[in-house]
Amino acid sequence: MSAASATAAPAPPKVLRVPEHTVEIVSDSGEGAQKCGQIFGAVSAKMGNGVWTVELIPAEIQPPPRVPEGASGNRIRLGEHAVTNWGDRTNLVIAFNEQVLLARHRVDSLADDAVILIEDKWARSEDADIVAQWDAAMKELSGKHYRIIPVAMEDQCLTIVDNPKKGKNMFALGLLARVYGRDMERIKEQIAHAFRKKSEEVYNSNVALLELGYHWAEDNIDFRVEIPTHAADKPLVVMNGNEAIGMGAIASGMELCAMYPITPATSVSHYLSEVFEKFGGIVHQAEDEIAACGVAIGASYAGKVAFTITSGPGMALKTEFLGLAVMTETPLVLVNVQRGGPSTGLPTKVEQSDMLAALYGQTGDSPHIVMAPATIEECFHIMITARRLAETFRTLVMVLTDANLATGVSPYPKPTLDEAWQAAPLDLAPVKEGQKAYAWNKDTGLSDRIIPGRPGGMFTLTGLSHDEGSKVAYSSGIHQHSSAMRSRKIAVLQSLLVPPTVYGEESGDLLVVGWGSTKGAIEEAVDRARKEGLKVSSLHLRFLSPLEPGLKDIFKKFKKVMTVEINYSDEIGDPYINEENRRRGQLSILLRNATLVDVDCWGRVPGEPLRPMSIVDAIRGRVPRGGAK
């Protein structure tokens, strides 16, 4: 540990040229670290860096100040090229107090040689307890090779504003702008946008603090970081996965989002509530999760497909209605932004543990479509496909994202919009002579839907077992047949799917299979492992029900297949755990069932996205040098 002198005469800074760098800015909740991080990330993207930003969110709205649990802020990974995940560890941290810094240290978020810029007023506090806490923290941190640079942030801010607490984040942004050589004009544009609802005075004082931080860094910080930038060849947009879901829903032509507030799904409705009406849509905040699902089903039944967004606990509440959508073959799109479970679990943290509940959580036999976007970009595009499949196959389509995608912010190519995405459903043709409510094609199970209001089509839709005419039927023959018809549709969809593409070589020692938000981290890990000489490839699934075709053939070309998932699985070697009683990762259960291949799994539930390095470790553990056995 070394401390830079804040008074030394400025020498030309050392320039560090790196292909990537990861920054964290952490504070107590409400101190504005997130805003600072967001602006820094956005400007970096505009300047041509790859960027992946994640929010560091405390579970409580207003945790007490100066406690590790209250750490709030942003982690921004910058790269020369596109960045697909949040990376491993942080290279530079700005911390507003030593307690929030400790929080990041304790979750092993900081690189061994991380540079830490920390507000040091606590060391000089009149409160002996605070000074003691500071000293204890410094002692705890001394075990690593961090370079800690104390910065008297508030004292500096006080030279131009009365209340330094309010603008400290802009001072910090100034520090980052100098260290990373960010374009100050673009930063000012972003500040103007962020404070567009505030007075000019607010803008001016924020800009003054920004410049103060910049100049302070110029005078006092002895290094700079340069990450090569590349102007994008296509226009890019930058947003988080939840905003992408919202925009995708608009682009798909859906007009009703029925929801009930639940973290981390709610921000989809925050976004939509702001803009949906001008697109001819509404967000209906229902009285509970169940009603939200019921309203969406009612609206879908009455014409255009509606959607509902939720997270694990909400999906559990909707279960009965989801079964009704399947039974009555009413199109419906459900988005589950997964969080940690079971029960209330980890409301703000990522997990991929609702997969089996999504697939099999409804009562009875309830075949439906389940898909998962792998990137923020796919969060947008998946909604268009989801709506189309829901109405084409007359069924429930579940879209599984997670908190990693929901709160991650990253640029992606601006979609080329197409009016065809909003095309009226195929099944809105008038009722044909003698048409039945469920005129199942015996081979495919497909049938045309009848919309209320259509002359000649009157029938009563029912969640009871029913025949082609929607007449309540209890006979075993009819139930067998209608069950087969509903199930068949899923097989038909599978016949239309394209076999997935392997990332890397099509054969080798190990195939890593993933789904959802882990794609970036897995592929980065595979790249690193291959550089080490390991014969590893990966496969990322977008469809979970039905599974994409050809998996068995793909698996056969690898000596070993292993899933990587953010859900819990037992490890062989743990007490009591053996091959027979091992509870496996959810995707591996699915794949074993479908392929009869002995698919291994590696899962972790750390309450944060997976780090590529931990996946590399897992790969190394499964494929010893010299190949799999």
Partner: protein, 317 residues
């Protein structure tokens, strides 16, 4: 889209077609003989014929229970959904298709127990529909379990030593809900009153909550029997803006002139349970309706794409 559907009756020359009551009849009703639901079904069919409602523009939405089988016995569009959840479905239908006429049938368990939350909020939303709560004070379909409106002391399969709690008063609850716009009570054994009440409910623009007292011949034949046999136990609330049934004047001589605009009086009347009061307790046509306040101008695909381009500009790198 609703426009297109709304125009479609033209296809089937409905223009001059006069619907007979029989044209609203669906499958043959399979309720028990003597069940009050038969009378309610007839009143609904009579109302549809009187108002000449176009069958395909009419929706019957229900939950689960004896009463919720009603849609099957109508020749309109029907949605026989989940126990307690008829109202969210009906709300969703109206949000996308306000031009459809929606009737909801629920039982007492449906409405005041498992679906009580939806009931409260549906009344708040005040979406234009007729919500009929067929109250026989018992779970009938599942064979004799206590419901929230079961009289205290009544012996059922779940409370064999007598219902433990005093019954819930649905009228008091309904009249306590902010933005309630229509609350009425009628009885299946007074067909002309039932019909007139449903008609008033249909005419009311907003969420019309009608509690229909209904006898279950198997499990609760006795709970309303005294009132059925002794008209003096019934008091009619009459008003030009509510329900008037001159043909019942001779039978029900106890009548009270009650202005349905008077909420305080309505609440006081709902509290009084010595006599059964039939009529419109409360009506306020000026209450905002959710499907109207949430109405948005539709957009064509081209307009949406143009607006979305602008939206993406906000997120441009």
């Amino acid at each position: 889209m609703s426009y297109t559907c709304g125009l479609l009756p033209v296809l089937d020359q409905h223009e001059d077609h006069h619907y007979e009551m029989s044209e609203y009849e669906g499958a043959k009703a399979r309720w028990c003989p003597g069940c009050g639901d038969h009378s309610i079904l007839t009143a609904v069919q009579r109302l549809l014929a009187a108002e000449q409602l176009v069958p395909e523009q009419t929706m019957m939405v229900s939950g689960i229970g004896c009463s919720s089988r009603l849609p099957h016995y109508m020749k309109t569009y029907g949605f026989h959904g989940l126990h307690g959840r008829a109202l969210p479905v009906a709300t969703g239908i109206k949000l996308h298709r306000p031009e459809l006429t929606v009737f909801v049938t629920m039982g007492d368990g449906d409405c005041t127990s498992i679906g009580a939350g939806h009931w409260v909020h549906a009344m708040r939303y005040n979406v234009d529909m007729v919500a009929m709560m067929l109250d026989n004070g018992i779970y009938g379909l599942t064979k004799n379990q206590t419901s929230p409106t079961t009289p205290q002391g009544f012996k059922s399969n779940t409370q064999p030593y007598g219902s433990i709690l005093p019954p819930l008063n649905p009228l008091e609850v309904a009249l306590g809900i902010t933005n309630a716009s229509f609350v009425a009570q009628t009885a299946e054994w007074a067909p002309s009153h039932l019909y007139a009440t449903l008609r008033a409910a249909y005419k009311h623009k907003g969420f019309s909550f009608v509690r229909i007292l209904q006898r279950c011949p198997v499990y609760t034949p006795a709970i309303y029997q005294k009132a059925v046999q002794d008209p003096a136990r019934i008091q009619l609330l009459v008003h030009d803006d509510g329900v008037v049934t001159p043909d019942l004047d001779k039978i029900y001589q106890s009548q009270l002139h009650h202005d349905p605009r008077d909420l305080a009086a309505a609440r006081a009347l709902a509290e009084q349970t010595e006599t059964i009061k039939l009529g419109v307790f409360y009506r306020d046509p000026s209450k905002p309706r959710y499907e109207e306040t949430r109405r948005v101008a539709p957009r064509t695909p081209a307009e949406r794409v143009a607006l979305l381009e602008k939206e993406f500009a906000r997120y441009a790198v």
